[in-house]
Amino acid sequence: MSLRKSKLGLIIGLLAIFMMTALAGCAKEESPAPSENQPPVTKELKLATTTSTEDSGLLDVLLPEFTKDTGYEVQVIAVGTGQAIEMGEAGDVDVILVHSRAAEDKFVEDGFGVDRRDVMYNDFLVIGPAEDPAGIKGEADVLKAFAAIQEKQAPFVSRGDDSGTDKKEKGIWKKANISTEGDWYIEVGQGMGDTFRMADEKKAYTLIDRATYLALKDKYQLEPMVEGSPDLLNPYGVIPVNPEKHPQVDFEGATAFAEWLTSEKGQQMIGEFGVKEFGQQLFVPDAK
């Protein structure tokens, strides 16, 4: 008898939990009442972009304004440049916003994207521990700084994930004609935030984009070593996916997005972004 009772209790208990969840689900469905002074959002646009635009908070500022102006709601898929381009090639997204000029040009050449536009650029900096074992603090030329790091075999953490930042870094080693063989060169295959954290932990040098650096610098101890070198500039481009390759993509929306980003208003918002939060401009608009 007591066994029966406890079983019954268990069943009632489970039912109660189940019902509460179900009720919570209902409540959630009812809550977002459409506001009447906003245009109804009916069109959705899929954007594949790099983690830097998302993590810096730039898109949070731009996208609501774009939605207000055009009625398109943008779904952001923030990944590495490599994967963003792959998504564009597969037609899984309508438009991409990435930063790797060589890969972008190939994307367009292969017919996957049309009408690439310059949007903005930001810059990278080399950061490292205050002890500065390679003695590169204040070096104006990043090529010389990298050579010093290799010569001293000072630990350097590389993204190693084929992202835009990773390609940029590999490009600098290549341009400086330096081999990265050796234990001092640590390829972690992770995102920028994680790479920063690991470099800090290992007291190593790393290459980082300014937006991520400013957003996270208070958490870690690495300091700026090299900045302003021409090889550290990082241009972003926006590319709608070619509707001839993938008829299902929303080319009209993608073009509207590209036009809006490069419009006077979009460009102005990009230029102002970061001044309030970080006291520093993060992206320099450069649409032609």
Binding site: G80, D161, D162, V188, G189, Q190
Partner: protein
């Protein structure tokens, strides 16, 4: 569909060619997870058996805690280990973060509760009658306890396979405490994450196949051992 077939093809090619990096990654995966499993077994089996066979105050609370820890989110386990091992953490001086040792520690944290909890369940499922029978036959307390463990070995083997399945397929903890460093702490699961993020879907699938094949082989080995042990005992037959 095409990309999956492509992935399968590339997977077998990669295994066939014995690509040096893939071999390195695979061996490290095996090394870390098997070490973690052995340690988890050394902790979990005695603890689980003791919990099942002894009665003391607070037993249910402890059992309940262990059952809860069986579902410990890997990332959380990783984070705890990370905070202990970071250079500013209590064990920072040993410089274990981003080493295979750190990965083993995190996986033991995940596997030990599973081994312990499932062992306890397996033993509890049969303890009384087996113990009584053994005692009736004149066994000492110690002998009777050992008999129970022998009878529960099927359940303990199940506990070990479950734990191994959990740790070898786990990614959150090893990514965090290992750091996915090429040639040092990169394992099969973190490679899959990396290749996916880089858009190399077929390579990711290929590595996934290696992982599954390893799991399959290990389970096959365990099952065949089990069969040998039980050769003279009848399986249940419904006639």
């Amino acid at each position: 569909m095409e990309i999956i077939i492509q992935g399968l093809k590339e997977g077998f090619q990669l295994i066939w060619q014995m690509d040096a990096e893939i071999v390195d990654v695979t061996l490290l995966s095996l090394q870390v997870s098997l070490t973690a499993l052995v340690l988890a077994a050394l902790i979990g089996i005695p603890l689980g058996a003791a919990l099942a066979l002894r009665n003391f105050r607070g037993k249910h609370i402890i059992l309940n805690t262990i059952y809860t820890l069986m579902g410990l989110p890997p990332v959380l386990a990783g984070l705890l280990v990370y905070l202990f091992l970071t250079s500013r953490g209590p064990l920072g001086q040993y410089e274990l973060l981003f080493t295979p040792t750190a990965m083993v520690i995190a996986q033991v944290l995940l596997a030990a509760p599973i081994v312990c909890g499932l062992t306890a369940r397996a033993v509890m499922a049969l303890s009384q009658e087996v113990y009584d029978t053994a005692a009736t036959l004149g066994a000492s307390r110690r002998q009777a306890s050992l008999t129970i463990m022998r009878e529960a070995r099927m359940g303990i083997v199940a506990a070990l396979t479950t734990a191994l399945g959990r740790v070898i397929a786990e990614v959150g903890a090893v990514m965090l405490v290992g750091g996915n460093i090429r040639w040092h702490t990169r394992v099969l699961t973190t490679s899959i994450v990396l290749e996916t993020r880089m858009g190399n879907f077929s390579t990711a699938i290929a590595i996934g196949i290696i992982l599954l094949v390893i799991s399959f082989a290990i389970n096959m080995l365990i099952l065949s051992l089990e069969k040998r042990t039980f050769r003279y005992e009848n399986t249940i037959q419904i006639t």
